[in-house]
Symmetry: C2
Subunit: 197 residues, 2 copies
């Protein structure tokens, strides 16, 4: 768990090994089984999660009991309700594990301590949120129909490691389409590839 | 223009009048007519805009020539392609004025200078982006159908000042529905209100 986190820090933030050790010590490791709910919509749970193995999902359940998928977090992704953490408000969505998952939990104390430990922390958080914003902008445009059948290609580009790991129903829920439509898109794409190849 | 910006700073950031003057001097004021394009998708234009009056819109035009609305920025909102600015990449979307608009332009120099002028700058940017993230999360869930007819109510809560100012076609484009569907939702809401009142 520590190795993955340290390799993530070294690759993205050029942080010394000593600093990486201090940062790791501020986080709480946790191993959870597939299906475990980490955060429930409407409850206040002041943590942001960093996934070292497995995969988390954020989602809401609407009034009619239907599940809507907001996003996924495979290895080396962060996931949490930042707005809820900053405002000390109940979470807008739930988070659960779609695979057995190992993760690190960051609390308010982590975010308060980090700027003194790593000078560029806020700047990096901004870059991180800007990247997250881009993913969501693409998602919105995709849901508006701006990319037509390329919405599935966008999903594959956002989460290349998840395309073969997730159940089709989960990908369909993320794309806001039926499983039948997803099957059609995948067949079309496979045909296109074989005729192009 | 300066008064509106200073009142925005005082309300949100508890900044002294002298500091507000310095910050204002780092921005470039601009007055544009309705329909003016400020930023074109695919081009690099390193500015973020703060609206003091009027309204901006971000959008893309797809391969078939159809326009898809990403967002609006009325008075006291910021709008720009943050990811493009940070990465020095071409913009993913375009920005134009849907009304005659007065705005302030912030460039890379502004973002480099600000942390030295105002100590809490990065922290405030993070809070701002987290709020922006929340708006996008709600938008995604709304487009996935999680809120049913409440999607229009969400729009009104996000942009209360725009509900009566924008053309219906523009609101329908933001919601990803037809003008006819928007009319139906509005009628239903009006009926519900009159029967509730």
């Amino acid at each position: 768990m520590k190795d993955i986190f340290k390799s993530y820090l070294n690759t993205n933030y050029r942080i010394t090994d000593d600093t990486a050790e201090i940062i790791f010590s501020l986080l709480t490791p946790k191993k959870i089984k597939r299906g475990t709910i980490l955060l429930k919509q409407g409850e206040y749970h002041p943590y942001i999660f960093f996934v070292t193995s497995g995969c988390l999902r954020s989602y809401i359940i609407d009034k009619r009991g239907k599940t809507h998928t907001l996003g996924f977090a495979p290895e080396k992704w962060w996931l949490g309700d930042h707005f809820s953490l900053l405002r000390k408000e109940p979470a807008m969505f739930s988070i659960d594990a779609v695979e057995d998952t190992e993760l690190l939990m960051a609390d308010q104390y982590f975010f308060e301590k980090m700027p003194a430990i790593y000078d560029g922390f806020h700047g990096q958080c901004l870059r991180h949120l800007a990247k997250h914003t881009r993913i969501m902008e693409k998602r919105i445009l995709s849901l508006l129909g701006a990319y037509g059948d390329e919405q599935y290609v966008n999903f594959m580009m956002t989460y290349p490691e998840l395309t073969l790991r997730l159940r089709q129903s989960m990908i369909a829920s993320y794309l806001g389409i039926s499983r039948e439509s997803l099957s059609r898109i995948r067949s079309k794409l496979a045909q296109h590839r074989s005729s192009a190849g």
